[in-house]
């Protein structure tokens, strides 16, 4: 068909559709809706024909505008939202978590190694603890006080918990995003945190305060360490894609690694909020019995692992990533 003939024949239809788009009727009869849907489909096909045969012409441009605008008005979005979020936590996150499990295991092993090293160091040379914790906390320990008591008593809980949440999230974020530097930053975060935990344990053992330390960290510690290790494992995944991209382009390997890593990280974020509340309201409180703190800590950890172990196989919301 000749361009001029195409325009002459089809133009009344485009104009009818354009008029309907410009002033969509407030209420629409079934017949009216059917007519509009038919017009939309015809415009869409005319657009395809014009784009193929008369690219760049005024008619093709106008048809493209009509097709885009009509699609926006007539095609309703998939209903994401609560359902999409639920699917993310029950399907996308668990499957990504399991694919990263090996790297998380490596992070755990390194963490334990660094902790043992830190413990051995401070057990042999207790004065090293001054360098790690600061002289004030050590002096307090010698008098039988934990430095954690003053951590939250001076500021309102709402403020200190949001500060702790921000701190934890930023540690996990740097462990995750630092993976792009060939995985160096997640390694650093894992080793440093392991070393610190081991060293603090050694120092408190020396002053016979290890029981209090265990009580303080039992409510939030297990989950906090798990989250940091999981985030670091995801960061290591990104780092591995940078170093070993196989026979694919590096950008492709990186994109695939980042997809899982991102799902894992996003799945961890709500837990950080829960963790911050526990760390402020439960952990330092002397009124809460130690057994309850331990129960909270273990059940939080169990809940996190149970959610991560859910069988997730349906098409995920991050599939388009």
């Amino acid at each position: 068909m000749d361009y001029a003939r195409f325009v002459r024949l089809r133009r009344p239809l485009w104009e009818r559709f354009e008029a309907q788009l410009a002033s969509p009727p407030k209420s629409m009869t079934h017949a009216g809706l059917e007519e509009m849907a038919l017009l939309y489909r015809q415009v869409l096909h005319d657009h395809a024909l014009a784009a193929a045969r008369y690219p760049g012409t005024a008619a093709a441009q106008r048809l493209r505008g009509l097709a885009v605008e009509g699609t926006r008005l007539l095609v309703a979005g998939r209903s994401e939202g609560p359902g999409g979020l639920a699917r993310f936590f029950t399907h996308t996150f668990p499957s990504a978590f399991r694919r990263q499990l090996g790297l998380t295991g490596i992070a755990l092993a390194l963490f334990l190694l660094a902790a043992v090293w830190g413990l051995a160091m401070t057990a042999l040379r207790p004065d090293l603890g001054v360098a790690l914790l600061g002289p004030k906390a050590i002096a307090g320990l010698a008098e039988g006080r934990m430095w954690t008591e003053s951590l939250v008593s001076t500021v309102p809980p709402a403020i200190s918990s949001s500060r702790i949440a921000t701190n934890n999230i930023s540690v996990a974020l740097s462990a995750w995003s630092g993976g792009i530097l060939a995985g160096v930053v997640p390694l650093y975060v894992v080793l440093l945190n392991g070393l610190m935990l081991g060293a603090i344990l050694g120092v408190t053992l020396h002053y016979s305060m290890a029981g209090q330390l265990a009580e303080f960290i039992s409510a939030h510690g297990p989950l906090e360490i798990s989250l940091i290790l999981v985030a670091a494992g995801a960061g290591l995944g990104i780092g591995r894609a940078v170093v070993v991209s196989g026979d694919r382009p590096r950008s492709l390997a990186l994109r695939d690694a980042a997809r899982d890593a991102l799902a894992v990280l996003l799945g961890c974020v709500p837990w950080f909020v829960v963790l911050a509340l526990v760390e402020v309201l439960v952990s330092p409180s002397p009124d809460v019995p130690a057994s309850f703190k331990l129960a909270v800590g273990l059940s939080l950890e169990a809940l996190f692992l149970a959610l991560a172990a859910l069988p997730g196989r349906s098409p995920d919301t991050l599939g388009a990533l």
């Binding site: 760049g56 012409t57 005024a58 106008r62 926006r72 007539l74 095609v75 994401e80 939202g81 919301t317």
Partner: protein, 232 residues
């Protein structure tokens, strides 16, 4: 013709739709405007709670409410204004941008809420992600399955009503875009020069189209008559 400004999606009946995807620049500009507005809202919020704190004399809880309000206000400004504005915040309105779904449709409230949930993460990662992705999606867009596009007003443009034999889409597009812009060109001499070149081509390809026309008049007008150009 490959158009690098646009990235296409497959619409109904697998028909390719080229969406005018908005890039990092215009989206950052819109976000900047939005954050200016948000800053004003936060100032207003601070003033309200300061006045309340003085009036109620309970400063510790008003402080908590004040601080807790900041992230809530930031998130709800974007989510609520996008839901009310059909995918447009005030900043997007000013830059003429709009949020649509990956299928080109209108996003539901759930998707608009979800894409703004991770906004604080996107302040860190959003810009590099948008720069790398051909569809310029930030993290929130990927999570909610949305895109941001330019809104283009469809303006009436001249369409050729009689095609000289042998003319393909290239010639048609060139003449049509010349006619659309001829009114706005500043230098009439240059305009007539370009119109004369089109007339020469017409004379060579099909002189019969020019029969009965006064070719000494305004050459732009002669082209319009010869090709039976209609506005539309």
């Amino acid at each position: 013709v490959v158009n690098l400004d646009h990235e296409s999606i497959l619409g109904l009946d697998n028909i390719r739709l080229e969406l005018p995807v908005a890039g990092v620049g215009s989206r950052t500009l819109a976000a900047f405007l939005d954050y200016l507005i948000l800053l004003l809202l936060l100032l207003l919020w601070t003033v309200i709670w300061s006045v309340l704190a003085v009036a109620m004399k309970k400063s510790s809880w008003t402080l908590v409410a004040l601080l807790a309000g900041y992230p809530v206000l930031e998130w709800s400004y974007f989510a609520v204004s996008e839901i009310l504005g059909g995918g447009r915040t005030l900043g997007k309105r000013a830059i003429r941008l709009r949020v649509i779904t990956a299928e080109g449709g209108t996003p539901g409230a759930g998707a608009l809420v979800a894409r703004n949930l991770v906004r604080s993460l996107d302040l860190l990662f959003g810009i590099p992600l948008m720069a790398v992705d051909p569809l310029a999606r930030r993290l929130g867009d990927r999570l909610a399955g949305t895109l941001v596009v330019h809104e283009r007003r469809t303006v009436a443009a001249p369409i050729i009503g009689r095609v000289p034999p042998g003319w393909g889409p290239r010639e048609l597009a060139a003449v049509e875009s010349f006619l659309a812009r001829a009114q706005g060109l500043e230098d009439p001499a240059r305009t007539y020069e370009m119109a004369d070149r089109i007339l020469d081509r017409l004379r060579r390809d099909s002189p019969e189209l020019l029969e009965g026309l006064d070719v000494r008049g305004n050459p732009v007008e002669v082209i319009r008559r010869a090709l039976q150009v209609e506005e539309g």
